[in-house]
Amino acid sequence: MELEVAIQKKLGAFQCNAKFTLNGDRVGIFGVSGSGKSTIMHMLAGLLKPDSGRIQLGEATLFDSMAGINVPPEKRRVGVVFQHAHLFPHMSVHRNLLYGWRRTPVPDRHIQPEAIIEVLQLGHLLDRGVNLLSGGERQRIALARTVLTCPRLILMDEPLAGLDEELKSQIMPYLNKVFYNFEIPLLFISHSLLEMRLMTEQVLVIENGQIARQVAIEELAQSTWATPRQGYVNLLRLGQPHPHGDLWAYQWGDTRLILTDYGENEENIFELDSREVLLFKRHPEATSARNLLPCVVRKIFTVGNRVRVELQCGSQPLIVQIVPESMRELELAEGKEVVAVIKASAFRRLM
């Protein structure tokens, strides 16, 4: 996806001024509520007309105030999944799904309904009315409905905001599967850093209607560490589990981790709070924790009474948070070897 945007819009006292160029298939728009994320999304989709500027998606000019171009939403081929699924209440699930597909020109229909119904496991819901669905089901149907229009780009506006934690972790794998299988570029709008880290590679950070910066998602995740009470969470992408006694062993780069949780996917994502990791100067001979990983200190960074230690565990990075006193006792310094100790139960499965 190549998206070039330079648009201005004034809404009452709020001034939105967005200028950015995106190159990548998974991009996030990150910002607090009221920062202008939704305004930008509406302008990209053609639901709100910018006062001036230009929007270029690949070869197509979607909006150009100078040339008098304003492609209507139905001609933009930009799909939107809204925060509240907005399934049409007077239609069955099946008719909802096909609403956009029937309106997509035949040559553009490169995704078949059967395929997306299979991927999102919607088969058993097709004949239902939309009022009898759970939040997660509604969001899956809304996504399928949009995917079936075979858009050049999908905008997702806080699609998980209304769902509880458990539903979120259930729906995330579906989202990933869809964007992986059908290769549709994604612009993901959210105020949740964790969702961003799971769904996107780079992010635009929006503050007060302006693009504050454009960074890789990992960089953003690490930069929030400096704000008080915001710990850092390591996201570990682990392979398939193998039985290890009554626990499970996962391959993590060239290291092997022992976890209590079982993950049925080919790739399972776990979170590990940076405060849950203990550091030892030397290998403790015996401990109740199941993971003892020899690491090298790459970087140390202190803010107030917290120290962030970036470790290299074999081929994988790991970030650990300790207090300054521990750092002095361990005599930590860049390049020094330590042993990171993690309990098998410290990992929380996300998807």
């Binding site: 209507p72 939403p73 139905e74 809204f82 509240h84 049409f88 209440p89 609403y99 956009g100 949009t146």
Partner: protein
């Protein structure tokens, strides 16, 4: 129905003809007007709204008289129609026009309320799914305000069944041509020994109105479920 005169049957059939035709012909226009009022920004919207709602508060006799002035041989529209040999006053068409004008505000009000209560997000979602503005209107907005359209139609139908003032002035009270149930009752009450017959037509009127209410209630329930 031996207690009814043959002319009473005519009045009942005429009432149905007038109410059905007025309602059916007005509905598309009512939907159009409601759409314009809800979804567009026309200059002087309040003024147009006033004009549309005026028949609701004006005495029907005044409306009938204004229509008579308009459609009379020397009226703006009447003088034009005379050239094509079309006469409105003292005809069934006149009765239908009188009923339409009087019932129209009820229809528009109801449809308008319905359209306003349809979440704009559905329309937006439809647009991003490839539906043009008209397509989105006919597949989303209109079906979702279907209940309100139906309620409006029932109100208008009931109002037309009972229309008296405007009809008697524009269309007169001609048995078999423009004499609807209320006009027939009026005639019975002003003639000696007509009380009994007036009463039996009143019973018919009550029965019809009650059926309209029942049908409307049942339909609303079904639409609610859908």
């Amino acid at each position: 129905m031996s207690f009814l005169q043959p002319s009473d049957m005519q009045a009942i059939i005429l009432s149905f003809k007038v109410a059905c035709t007025a309602t059916i012909l007005s509905t598309p226009l009512g939907i159009g007007v409601a759409y314009v009022l809800v979804h567009t920004r026309i200059p002087g919207k309040a003024f147009w709204e006033g004009i549309i709602n005026l028949p609701l508060v004006l005495p029907p006799v005044v409306i009938g008289y204004l229509l008579l002035v308009l459609f009379g041989r020397h009226g703006w529209i009447g003088s034009f129609l005379v050239r094509f040999d079309i006469q409105i006053i003292f005809t069934l068409t006149g009765a239908i026009i009188a009923s339409s004008v009087v019932g129209f505000p009820l229809l528009v009000r109801s449809i308008r309320l319905g359209m306003e209560s349809v979440d704009a997000s559905y329309r937006k979602a439809a647009r991003t799914l490839g539906a043009g503005p008209w397509d989105a209107f006919f597949t989303i907005t209109l079906p979702l305000s279907g209940r309100a359209v139906f309620t409006g139609m029932t109100l208008m139908f009931a109002r037309s069944l009972g229309e008296f003032g405007a009809t008697i002035i524009l269309a007169g009270n001609i048995p078999g041509v423009t004499q609807t149930i209320p006009l027939a009752i009026y005639e019975y009450t002003s003639s000696p020994r007509g009380d009994k017959m007036a009463l039996s037509l009143c019973m018919v009127s009550i029965l019809l109105s009650f059926i309209v209410l029942l049908v409307s209630g049942a339909a609303t329930k079904t639409l609610n479920k859908g």
